[in-house]
Amino acid sequence: MLETVALILVILVLSAGVLVLCLQSLMGAVVAASVVSLGVSVLFVLLRAPDVALTEAAVGAGLSTVVLALGLRKLGLWRIEGDRGEAHALVPTDRREREDA
């Protein structure tokens, strides 16, 4: 029984890991990384480490996904509909030319 649950979770985690590297959309890759974190946190529960599982679910799957998604938004690679994003502030400036001069 325990083996079956572990096998299903390991297959889920590894396929989500492959998706992280293969998905074209970077937002999809971030969500796949979050799925990896959640699967690993359930595996921690099976390994009798409930405190680590709590931390992994809250910090690894929650906070890290928020950080990565906000980073994507700041890079202009992820856009909500009707949202201009913050990428317009990020166009490469003429700083290098000023430094050269």
Binding site: L2, E3, T4, A6, L7, L9, V10, V13, L14, G17, V18, V20, L21, L26, A29, V30, A33, V36, S37, V40, L43, F44, L46, L47, R48, A49, P50, D51, V52, T55, E56, V59, G60, L63, S64, V67, L68, L70, G71, L72, K74, L75, L77, L90, V91, P92, T93, R95, R96, D100
Partner: protein, 152 residues
């Protein structure tokens, strides 16, 4: 079942570590590099927790379950708890660095970034920027064999 519980988890942890390392080596996008780092990190955490596991043991929590049962090793768990939080810190730092790099160079492609950085370093030292390793330096010499005449 052919595989026991611990072997399945070892396969999962090592697979995650290998996937993350493969991504770190092969990707050309800076953001996907950060994601691959997070992947390898999850695999390492699973491997560390797995090193303290023993079959049929209790969670290492005082007053939880019967007192005369063996516990799993709490030391790797405490260390991994720290490693998870530090990992998120490293990720936030990497994302901040990626935003700064994008603001400076306008690209996240690692090959283009390497050329930009080497050019900047060379300009700072006042020498000519290095030639690209991806493109041949000059024209390719013509083959000594003349091309075959076209069939009528």
């Amino acid at each position: 079942m052919a595989l026991d519980f611990v072997s399945i988890l070892y396969i999962g942890a090592l697979g995650l570590l290998l996937l993350g390392t493969f991504g770190l080596v092969t990707t050309t996008h800076l953001f996907r590099l950060i994601l691959a780092l997070a992947l390898a990190e999850a695999g390492v955490n699973l491997l560390l927790i797995l090193s303290g596991y023993r079959g049929g043991a209790q969670p290492p929590i005082l007053g939880f379950g019967p007192q005369d049962m063996p516990m799993v090793d709490p030391i790797p768990q405490a260390l991994v708890l720290t490693a998870i939080v530090i990992g998120v810190g490293v990720q936030a730092l990497a994302v901040a660095a990626a935003v700064r790099i994008y603001r400076r160079y306008g690209t996240l492609d690692l090959v283009a970034l390497k050329a930009h950085l080497e050019g900047d370093l060379a300009r700072k030292q006042g020498i000519a920027p290095p030639k690209s390793a991806e493109k041949p330096a000059g024209e390719r010499p013509l083959s000594p064999v003349p091309p075959r005449p076209q069939e009528p």
